[in-house]
Amino acid sequence: MKRIKFLLFVSVLVLALGVSSLGVMAADKPPVVIGLQGPITGAAAVEGEMAKRSVEIAAQMINEKGGILGGRMIEIRVADDACQPKAGALAAMKLLSQKDVVASIATYGSSVTQPASDIYEKFKKVNIAYGATVTGLTERGLKYFFRTCGRTDTQGAFFANEVVPLFNAKRVAIMHDNQTFSLGLAEDTVKVLQPKIDAGEVELVYFDAITPGESDYTVPLTKLRETNPDIFYFTGYFPEAGLIVRQARDIGITAVFVGGDAAINEDFIKIAGLEYAAGCYQTQEALIEYFTNPEAVAFKEAYMAKYNTLPSSPWSVYAADALCVLAEAIDKSGSTDSDVIADYLRNKMENFPSITGPIGFDEIGDRVGTGINLYVVNADGSFGIYGK
């Protein structure tokens, strides 16, 4: 009996010592933990993986410069949301249940961001989306929700106001894939286009959805061909875009093909074949390879050095941007309190030089000023900004 008591005493002592020493160690510059929520598995796993890499590179860059808040390092905690709403809610809870997570970079898909941002809001944690572009997201009056990516209506407006006049197009065909992002972009485009349609300047001759994941789109395309469009805007993703371009050309659609920002990348060219892909256009958020500001150059060098390639989509770089603004907000405001960070982001951050250029946020949490450009696939398979 005595021995048990003794053992108990010793173990309590050891435990107490251990805890206190941990406490001492923790006091000595604990890392600032930032959560990253993204699709590590599932259909959008590629994006999640790139986001993880980009954010880690950005963290590495900040840490190499000596961290924030006087030498505290940044640590990234990744939670997988598989691009599904339920898994997204779980991932948000996973990050929130770790008390040392200061803020979260969340997340890629719009339909996942919706429940996740509600949860973050409830727990009062700043969360910055990097791929969720659906217009309505920021219009819900959330206090802690921001995004470094643009909104679909900016892109839609760009297409309606810049691209359509550029090609002197009168007859516009728009096709989407009935998923959150794609439908949003298509609808926002029509919204901006509406005054011109009413004025009789342009005509919306085709507006319909295809089912993603199929292979044969000749049937809807034949229907589209009969409307005889000048310009054909496809707002869906690259696997379908590649098929659609080829099948459209095969059945004799000659209209200018413009893809949304998810439509065109290297895989698009592979699927469509270069002879079909060349001369296709894309309204695109800023692609990292065309940036020349010092922050972007540094990021590109670090990324190249580690992975020998560049992120192929803009979204992962926006995730890195999110980390940069968070680090800046925490560092400048000197606090890891959510209210302070949110206040700093919303009211005090202006033209902060981040990787994709200067960043500020407006009243509802949208990024001020994102550059959308018209890219074109060149005959050799490379991308270029049209007109440059």
Binding site: A43, A45, V46, N178, D208, A209, I210, T211, G213, E214, S215, D216, T218, V219, P220, T222, K223, E226, P239, G242, L243, R246, Q247, D250, I251, G252, D267, K270, I271, A272, G273, L274, E275
Partner: protein
């Protein structure tokens, strides 16, 4: 009119893929009374097998057999590969549980489907892959003002040839009679001296082989293949099988072609977004009035 004909041809092309895959479902179901949920994924695996062959062996194949020869070679090799994969799945996932009833086999089949699908993802990656461009001639024929691709014609030809061949085997040969006997009553067939093992081996090789071949054709025609395509095609082909009457070989062919045409009609005259709703509604209506599919025999339950 021209448009309708052109669309009809488009519908038939999709339908012939469905029909080829549906044959696999129907043959397995006919004899085993089992829905081989992994069949769609075997089709996808066939597509990837063909892809790998064409990417790494395209120059060799094209030099040896000519451009069309290379294609045929890829199809044959994929067919053999998937035939083997089909029998392997039967051995591993189905054979140990035949005796305990049908439902465990459904779970096992779903498991096999998940394994194949994710196996493809692990091996070939989650991104969609594209068939090499040089084996796919994209000649467009102009027939009476209609634009038809050469590939489309070839696919229809090959599909109908394969279907005809299968129909001949099942309906006209002794071996086919044995298969039909097994489908009617496996125990009696066994008593009559039919080797059930051989029959099972044959249907689990031939069904997936047809699926594998159509996988290669889908790859060559559309170029894009992805690891989840098995689910899409599988579900549609299964629908086609039921539409025609499961276990019925001509029914599967009819169901597949009809489904393709129905999809075409749905997306042309309704909306593309409601196409699948339309297809499933037609299916349900058909089943309400013909509970065993279009060509399914009316079986009075023996009491």
């Amino acid at each position: 009119m021209k448009i309708i004909l052109e669309q009809l041809l488009n519908g038939l092309t999709i339908g012939s893929f469905y029909a080829l895959i549906a044959l696999g479902y129907s043959m397995v179901y006919g004899v085993m009374k089992l829905i081989n949920f992994a069949h769609g994924d075997l089709f996808a695996l066939g597509s990837y097998l063909g892809y790998t062959l064409l990417v790494f062996g395209s120059t060799y194949a094209t030099v040896t057999f000519g451009i069309w020869g290379g294609m045929i070679a890829a199809m044959l090799i994929a067919a053999i590969g998937i035939g083997i994969a089909g029998t392997l799945i039967e051995r591993i996932a189905y054979r140990p549980i035949y005796s305990v009833g049908r439902l465990p086999a459904v779970v096992s089949a779903l498991g096999a489907s998940i394994v194949i699908q994710n196996g493809i993802m692990v091996v070939w990656g989650p991104r969609p892959q594209a068939y090499p461009a040089n084996v796919v001639p994209s000649t467009v024929l102009n027939v009476a003002g209609m634009r038809i691709t050469l590939m489309q014609v070839i696919i229809l030809l090959i599909s109908f040839m394969l279907m005809g061949l299968l129909y001949y085997i099942i309906q006209k040969t002794t071996f086919g009679a044995a298969i039909r006997a097994c489908a009617l009553d496996r125990d009696t067939a066994a008593l009559m001296g039919i080797n059930i093992e051989t029959i099972i081996f044959f249907i689990f090789a031939l069904g997936p082989a047809l699926g594998g071949m159509s996988g290669v054709m889908v790859g060559m025609y559309y170029r894009k293949i992805s690891f989840i395509m098995g689910w899409n095609y599988g579900l549609k082909a299964f629908t086609a099988t039921i539409l025609g009457g499961i276990g019925n070989i001509p029914g599967a062919m009819l169901g597949g072609l009809l489904l393709g045409v129905l999809e075409m009609l749905g997306s042309t005259y309704l909306s593309t977004a409601y196409k699948d709703v339309f297809v499933f509604l037609v299916l349900i209506l058909v089943l309400i009035f013909r509970p065993r599919g279009l060509l399914g025999e009316k079986v009075a339950e023996k009491v």
